[in-house]
Subunit: 155 residues, 4 copies
Amino acid sequence: MIQVSVCGPREAAPQDVANAREIGRLLGERGAAVICGGYGGVMEAAAEGASSVGGLVVGVLSGPTRGGATPYLTVAIPTGMGEARNAVIALAGDAVIVVGGSWGTLSELALARRNGTVVVQLGGWRVVDEKGRPVEGVRYADSPVEALWLTGLFG
Amino acid sequence: MIQVSVCGPREAAPQDVANAREIGRLLGERGAAVICGGYGGVMEAAAEGASSVGGLVVGVLSGPTRGGATPYLTVAIPTGMGEARNAVIALAGDAVIVVGGSWGTLSELALARRNGTVVVQLGGWRVVDEKGRPVEGVRYADSPVEALWLTGLFG
Amino acid sequence: MIQVSVCGPREAAPQDVANAREIGRLLGERGAAVICGGYGGVMEAAAEGASSVGGLVVGVLSGPTRGGATPYLTVAIPTGMGEARNAVIALAGDAVIVVGGSWGTLSELALARRNGTVVVQLGGWRVVDEKGRPVEGVRYADSPVEALWLTGLFG
Amino acid sequence: MIQVSVCGPREAAPQDVANAREIGRLLGERGAAVICGGYGGVMEAAAEGASSVGGLVVGVLSGPTRGGATPYLTVAIPTGMGEARNAVIALAGDAVIVVGGSWGTLSELALARRNGTVVVQLGGWRVVDEKGRPVEGVRYADSPVEALWLTGLFG
């Protein structure tokens, strides 16, 4: 089963929420499992979108219980490891789609690239070098459909 | 969704494998998700039993990739955290069912009890105090059906 | 530098506290670093013993800050990973000395044995198989001096 | 004891190595412990600098053993958790100093900011928003001395 991690902030802009919901829906339609952090904002929107079409969603939670998790998860994995769980989310996807920007989200993006995993980004923060030139390694999408396409997982 | 972690050795006795497969099957029939370590032996048997009746199985892997995982998982979560992932398996179940004995298995049992999670054991190692008296806190089952019943999760 | 992890309950019996303090002192005298969980009971006693002779003590904390740590640590490493940090303590020692029994302590003992690390125990819980026979793999000491000797690290 | 995490790439430019060594030395002189990832490049340079003046250095290793660690560590903590250990390094410092850029380094920077920890950066990658404006939250230094000063830990 194809697995895609969808990452983004809990405090998310409306456009990011809408994009995440659509990405979740598209992944669910294609039979891919959505992995996410399991709480609100972009995480919840991706979960809601996938579950709306019967898709499978796994929330890898930072907390030690299922408390506070979005109800749109199929399975919740409480890790009790705090933000170290971001490393698990970064590893668990065949690709990682990032929607919007926050420090937690950036850590997932960076950990995924550290692993060599494909990262596709829709909105959010960018990484540049000291001279302001883009650091290579992230694929930028302009729409949810393009984000899935850029993962290279969906023919 | 009810979630039950099933723990046991990779190098498992035939009786433990048979018990784990039956426990997986019974959990799948009751609509509970099986969480396991995702590799061979008891882990694979529980996964196989659950998937044989269409149940959902999540493997929380110690390795950083899906390599070496049993094919009977619905979703694999590679953690790259080695045996620290045992703490995740111990947290992720509403109850933990232990089948057979090994040091890794015992760590999961102990971590689950540390969290206050219900642990039911079918075969395997026992913990006694310095005077040889059983340490309280684990429920012992004589059969797969009794193991599920002793979790208290299935009316 | 030789590193020895000393594990035991936060709620510890007076004899266990005294043993842990003496083990810490002996390790400090021999120039070995003490690794422990960093909170009260056996952990604090081992730290206090080592620091009383100028020894180095590292507390690997379950919490995300240094809050609640014993003051006898040289360095505190807050992990924010809850009980998953027990796996780190189990890995960080060239040997693990266990003083007294609790579920958390047992998880450290089991994780250390899972790694193949030498475990020496002074008091506390024992592991037996289904027929009540001791499970091999732990060395039992009768005194702090013997505990150090059984690690095999001190000529 | 003040603890400062020093983060940077294993494959580091000569200027980053020189800066990290000087930062380690300055921290050691001020009696602060250096926390680092424990391998080569910036990590080793910071450890070497601190140890050259008798400072204390803790390496929080991604691997499950002390293999491959720089010899300039006082204590090595093998975590066996892969890059999830970056979250521990980000938590363990009263401040985090970043020298140079890489995906692993960026994950530590982001995790530290996610925790609210002060991050000072000397060289390396920058984070900007979609319009190219700097994302606030990181303090930029032009020299090792300024990096220490910007942590706010050294009067």
